[in-house]
Each structure stands twice: as C-alpha cells, then as structure tokens.
Symmetry: C2
Subunit: 305 residues, 2 copies
C-alpha cells in the first residue's frame, strides 16, 4: 500500500482568519496533500493544521506552509500566551501506514534542509529527529522563545540551529522540525461517580508510574453524566493499543465492582489501530490486514501481490 504520512504544523497566528486561510491554502496547493483538521486558539494566537498524504506530498505541503507563514507572520509583533520560536513554529511528521518512525525522521531532515535552502529560515530538529540529545524535548529547544533565542543563538553555540543560522530569521524565527509516532487520544468512562477510582486506575496504568508502556493517563470527573473518566494518550499504539488499555482498565475496575460505561475517541486513529484491536478482542489466530477485502484490492491494484 502507498505510504501515508500525517503532518501537524503549529503556527503563530490564531486570530486573523484570512491569514490562517492563506496558510491552509498554501499547504493544500501541494499535489496530493489533504487537509484533515484545523483548530485555532486566539489566546494562544496559534493554529494547528493537520494534513496528510504521500511522503512527497506532505514534504511539499510542509515547505509551502512554512513559506506562507513566514510571509504573513512577523514574530517581532506577535503576542500570545503559548511559547513560540517560529512563524511556522513546530512541524512534526507522523507515520500513518506503510511508513516507520525512521521514515518520518528522514522526511523531517529533508524538510529541514529544504526550508533552509529555499526559504533561508534556520531549523532545529526535535523528538525522534533530534540531532542533539538535549533537543529531543521540545521545551529544551524553545526555552526563552523567539525573543531570547534570537540573541542567544548568536553568542551561545549550544543554542544555534541544527541547519542554517547562526542567527534566526529576523521575522520568521526558526522552524522546529521533528518526527513522532501517531498519538491516539482515547477515553474510557467508568460507571461510578467516585473520582478516586478513575485517578487510581490512571495512576496504575500510566507509564510514568510504572504501568503500561507508552500510556499517559489522567482520572477526570464527567460531572454532567455523573461518571468518571480515564483520559488517555496512547503514544505508541503498536506497543500498547486500544485492546490492552481497555482490558486492563476493565480488569482493575471490576475488582472495585465498577463497569466500563463506554469509551470515546478524540480525533482520528490509523486503520491499523482498529484492526489490531478487533483481532485481539476476537482472539483471531490468523489475522492479517490482507484478510480485509478493501486492503487486498488496494494491494493487488498496486501490484504488491
């Protein structure tokens, strides 16, 4: 199957709809780039556009979006409560199917080189695409924001961009380009009003307190429904997927006499996540994705028999 990559540029304009439209239009002008979602926050003065397509489509869309943001946004006069370093601030590439995290790292590096070469905007690499271990964490890259970093980059080698520089672009700052896995936001509602049950289960399953790998979890009240919720981010669903968290939460809730009332997905998930979950629940012994008619047709039509 043709690989599909998702790209989630965060840019520093959340108020002027005509500018946000123009950036979206620039991204969508790349052949094969499909806009999936857009959200803007006026207080953050920041927007997020989610788009997807083939690796080449997404690379081209990312560079066009960066060019449009640099043309329309002047960080010297930009104000907002969310920290930022660039007009196009953060640019992660995410594998959806037929591509690995490593493929997205390579794509991030190609995008970074193209952005510097064509637009003269310097680039930092973060998360899986980081060239410097300290820069794996976005907050380390962005500490001090545009106003401090444009000074620091000129005098402190450790703050210089990975590509371009040493100084920042005078109005567009720098782009922080990276690669990460697909994140699934998934919540499970428990049939109790006892918030402590959700908090205890969230603590038991989250990675940071020794639970399941690649899970972030919080216990929250759902006041209007008189339920509580375990709200989760699955940061690597191939390691810990929907089935694993559902099962673990059902088991832990049952020991307290509590049932799962339902679950909800926030945003989107890749097809392989739902196929994996169904196969696990059904204990399917011989499942592979080619057992699905449409997948098989697609593979055969592409000559991957």
């Amino acid at each position: 199957m043709q690989p599909i990559i998702e790209c989630v540029p965060n840019f520093s304009e959340g108020r002027d709809a005509s500018k946000i439209d123009a950036i979206e239009t620039a991204i969508a002008s790349a052949d094969g780039a499909v806009i999936l979602h857009r959200s803007s926050d006026p207080d953050h003065n920041r927007s997020v556009i989610t788009f997807a397509g083939s690796p080449e489509s997404v690379l081209e869309g990312a560079v066009r979006g960066t060019a449009a943001a640099a043309k329309l946004i002047d960080l010297r006069i930009h104000k907002g409560v969310h920290p930022r370093l660039g007009a196009l601030d953060v640019l992660p590439f995410v594998p959806v199917r037929g591509a690995t995290l490593e493929d997205c790292v390579a794509l991030a590096h190609r995008a970074g080189e193209k952005i510097w070469r064509e637009l003269s905007i310097p680039v930092y690499f973060y998360e899986a695409a980081a060239w410097q271990p300290m820069r794996q964490r976005l907050e380390n890259v962005r500490r001090g924001e545009f106003e401090e970093i444009r000074e620091a980059a000129l005098i402190d080698e450790s703050r210089q961009p990975d590509i371009g520089g040493p100084g920042l672009h005078s109005t567009a700052g720098a782009v922080i380009v990276g690669a990460r896995r697909f994140l699934i936001a998934f919540n499970i509602n428990l049939r109790t009003s006892d918030l402590q049950v959700a908090k205890d289960i969230a603590r038991a399953i989250r990675t940071s307190s020794g639970g399941l790998p690649a899970v972030k979890a919080l216990g929250l009240p759902l006041m209007s429904r008189n339920l509580v919720q375990v709200s989760m981010n699955l940061t690597d669903f191939e390691q810990t997927g929907l089935y694993a968290v559902y099962n673990e939460i059902a088991r832990r809730a049952a020991t307290r006499g509590v049932e799962i009332a339902g679950s909800e997905l926030i945003g989107l998930m890749p097809r392989s996540a739902i196929e994996q979950a169904a196969a696990a629940f059904l204990k399917l012994e011989n499942f592979d994705t080619q057992r699905i008619v449409e997948n098989r047709i697609e593979s055969l039509a592409e000559g991957e028999q």
Copy 2:
C-alpha cells in the same frame, strides 16, 4: 468512498488449467477488475473466481468471463459431480462497501440483459435478484441440470429462462445471475474436547433453530488440537456481526466452564465488519468510519467532505 462490488462466478471447468487461466484473463481484462481468489475442483470439474471492483468494472468483468466460458466450455461433453446449468453457471454480485444489496440486484439484472443481448445466452435470476419467488433458491432453478432443463425449457413455461430462451444455448446452457450479501466464514474454537458443547452452542445460536438472525452454525471436532469448534457462516454481518456471535458463544461457553481458545476467519471480510466489531468491543460511543485517518483521507480526496 467509491462503491466496491464483489463478484463470484462459478464455471464448469475445474481440470484444464489453460482454459481456467483464459477465463481469469478475460475477467481481469475489464478495466478496474481485480482478481482476489481462485479455486478449482477436478471432481466437481468446476472453478470459482472471486473478483472485485467498481460496479461498472465488475459488470464488464462478469460479461467477459461469461463470453470466455461460453467459448471454451461445451456442456454437452462436460462431466463433473457438481450440478450445473451453464458454462458460466452461477454469477452472484455481492456488496462490499458503499453499495446495498438492492444495488447488486440492479447490477445483476443489467448483467443478465447484457449477457443475453451480446452473447445470446439466456439468463435465470436467483436469490435477491429473482423475478419469480420460486427461483430465490438456486436448487429450484438448477433442478435437473443442463441435460433436463434444455428439454424442459422448450415445453414447460415454468422452466423457461427469465431473459432469452425459451430454449437454452446449445453448448453454454444458461447463466444463473443473482445478488446476495457478503458472507463471512468465521470459526470459534473452544477449549474443551467435548464435542457436545460445540454442537449445543451451534444449535442455540443458529437461525434455523431460533437463535441469532442470519447465522448458520455447526459444532465440529478439531482432532489435531483436541479442541472443538463452532463453525459459522454469517450471512448478514450488519444484522449479526463478529462481536455478537463472539459474545454469545463466550457467554454460553462460560456457563459450562469452557473458554474461547481462539477464532479464525476463512477467506476475506469487508472492512466495515472489523470496524463494527472493534467499536462494539470497545463500547465506542462516537465511532464512525470517518474517525479512521485513511478513510477520512479517501473521502476528502474524493470531495465527499
């Protein structure tokens, strides 16, 4: 999303690979028709080719396959243990996605008209495409096979084809064209060697003995694994899907202290069947197919936002 139809022609040649190849090649020569599977039985002297594509691709592939079968097969000299009326004997159209059973009925009728008009082979309609209630059952149409029906059709109005005739084609007989739902063949293995458990559960869940709708089920031994199996055909998975039978079998097995050891899929299933199952197991409150990245990209790329 583009509609996808599956077509499963059964034709009266199961021994001569060069003839079977030629019929497959004729089907695949229709633009957009993709061959999914082929099986031949020399005792039956019969083959089944499963192919799929858009409604127009499948219609064209079906007519080309019928033409090739009529050219290569002479029923006057055909022998095999499986009953048959035509060179291309049975031609069912099956909805996979974006199409209803009614769409497939209409497609079957168009195929039948085209086969008579272009190839001068008469046509009977069966199952959901039947024009005469008696002909809903394939065995009623095929009773007496080619040898008897070619005589009967000339003298008995009730045996005449629905289109064309009154007599049959001298060498190719007639094509029995129909429409049916996608059939999922799904087996659940139980961790016991007691065959009676599988037989009792099969009887409890099958439609014919008052169980779940659209389920055929048998209890079978799995000697080599020392397990027993409930072997099922789900004839309308939108009515009774994988989740429903899994759940019901798990519940009934549990009352006898027996666990589900695993399950297996025979052949293929449509994507919506696995999405439906995952959503049900997860108790997803807000699921729709557009929550899957790839489905959303496909819809947006086709302008169906």
